[in-house]
Chain length 212, copies 2
Amino acid sequence: MSFPPRYRTPRARSRVEAAGAESRAKAVRAAIELFSTAGYRGTSIALVAEKADLSQSGLLHHFPNKAALLAAVLEHREAEDGRFLAGTDDRPPLGWAAFDALTSLVARNSTRPELVGLFVRLSAEATESGHPAHAWLLDHYTSTRNWLTDAIRDGQQRGEIHPDAPVAVLVRLTIATLDGLQQQWLLDTGGTDMVADFTTFVSGLRTQWDVK
Amino acid sequence: MSFPPRYRTPRARSRVEAAGAESRAKAVRAAIELFSTAGYRGTSIALVAEKADLSQSGLLHHFPNKAALLAAVLEHREAEDGRFLAGTDDRPPLGWAAFDALTSLVARNSTRPELVGLFVRLSAEATESGHPAHAWLLDHYTSTRNWLTDAIRDGQQRGEIHPDAPVAVLVRLTIATLDGLQQQWLLDTGGTDMVADFTTFVSGLRTQWDVK
DNA sequence: GTCTATATTTTGATAGAC
DNA sequence: GTCTATCAAAATATAGAC
């Protein structure tokens, strides 16, 4: 984990605590909205506070500083993702099914421009090694890459994906496609269909590396 | 053009003008370096000035404001690109040759992390409609898309690329791949080989859509 | 063309009352 | 938990001397 959890594990709350938690959650939502359009650097905590109907100090009561707010945002995002890719089952999708799961993820993302914006902007910002989300970003890419690598390898072992498929390259290309499509989708005035495009990409992979 | 040119067209300069132009160019170079790591929003003009061995006001003598500095940076980038994709010939590469030209571009980029960083960061920042580089970014994507679209269509007409190839989708996927690989390349500690990955992508396209 | 000095705003953060 | 008041630092920009 790149950021230590600042939420306590859920438990029964007194009424006062519940009110506080609500403000906090409101602040996180506001931060997501603003970070996703102006980025982390581009949004002031004052603006987040305003959007959350709090004073600046009221906001800073919940987070020691701006970086902590970002940490909470990232945490929330991961939680909302809720291990989406793990599938509704307990078992993660493997082989080509992993690509289907990714397609579902794209479909879901295309209804959530805020989350896409958040990710695209933070990904670019946090490439810098000093950025407060740098560790998170590294972790995100590493785990995504590992997950997809394992899925493809499993497909090869089960004779579903061709053994000659260059796994590492395909993993990087797939992730690149996902990221790049999001970038274009954000920029476009609604013209591009991420799902259709990614589907085409996947079917290209299949025609080349499917064992049939 | 999204930004009006602020450089005059080259001509003979007096010695005083030459000194001024040198400071200006130095500032642009410094700005590129800083924008490419911390982004536009993340770098102050004071820092750019320092890196260019100028006072802040000395820098602002050449550019009315920060946005103008950014405009000069973008202009410089386009100039340095020097219509790289147009090829060394007078004629732009068409059909599969366009993808070879893109591969060359990737190879060139992989020796210039500053330019890649600049583009990746600005692309993400400038997705926002209020950003000073927003128009530039739109223009950049539009012209790239048009160029590649025309190249593929030409390949189809000459019987080099399969007529059933979904041109618009391939264009978006190719651009997405380029952008996404740059993102990963920036993040990585030197592990990924953009050129090799993109080459694999292109050969995938060829095996699927080449007319042979 | 370049500098020093300064004005103005914005930002992140703290202190302390309620 | 939330607010008002306040601070110190940083950032953009301008004025005017040289």
